[in-house]
């Protein structure tokens, strides 16, 4: 597997929307982006092209419009991005980031139980010795 160049921040945002709304045209992504901020059509177009040329998406023409589809799963991109961040900003330690998220960003009450379950599950897995993951 050839090493893909990493996505830039802006490209990531676009890639996320592509995962979110599935195969889409530039216009659809553009409209989605515009819900939260102003953006030029051509700029979004450029990002999609770059995302494709970096190997994270494919596209094909359907008549006159090009349809972009994500090629790499979110998981993969998230893993690489987060690993890198943790390496650089936390020296490779995961917990400080977890703490930061829990303490500094609002976690809603409804999510606390989910969190607790996660921790429980984690503990069971750990106890079962080197658990595998899918």
């Amino acid at each position: 597997m050839v090493e893909k160049p990493a996505l830039s921040k802006s490209e990531m945002e676009i890639a996320r929307l592509l995962w979110e709304i599935g195969p889409a045209t530039v216009r659809e992504i553009h409209e989605e982006v515009c819900k939260s901020r102003q953006a030029d059509f051509a700029t979004i177009q450029t990002f999609l092209r770059r995302i494709e040329s970096k190997g994270y998406a494919t596209s094909k023409l359907k008549g006159r419009t090009r349809i972009y589809s994500a090629k790499t799963r979110p998981r993969t991109v998230i893993r690489e991005t987060v690993d890198d961040l943790i390496e650089r900003l936390f020296g490779g330690e995961t917990m400080p980031l977890v703490k930061h998220l829990i303490e500094e960003r609002g976690i809603e009450a409804s999510e606390i139980n989910e969190l607790r379950e996660l921790v429980d599950r984690l503990e069971r897995n750990n106890n079962q010795g080197a658990g595998n993951d899918s």
Copy 2:
């Protein structure tokens, strides 16, 4: 407070070391970096200079050598960086990242309790904030 330009990934790594080992010379940071990877002295020097010019550090000459000191607290940089990442990669949702960290990066057994305490504390705080029931 004037908006500082964000630190780049590489600059972040250097800034972290600066927080970690406190006021330091280029040489000291360079040596620290070299523990984990090859790096050119002048490159580290450039990063420190840029970190300073972006307003995240100060420096003063002590005889022949320049001593760099962090000026912005880690918390601040971490908050801005993480907020941005969550916005772009998770559409502003915190939980998916928390889940990712817990599920995909090894959390050691010894840290699970710490995690559980965090969750408990979070819950207590939440209950106090929103009108209590009991």
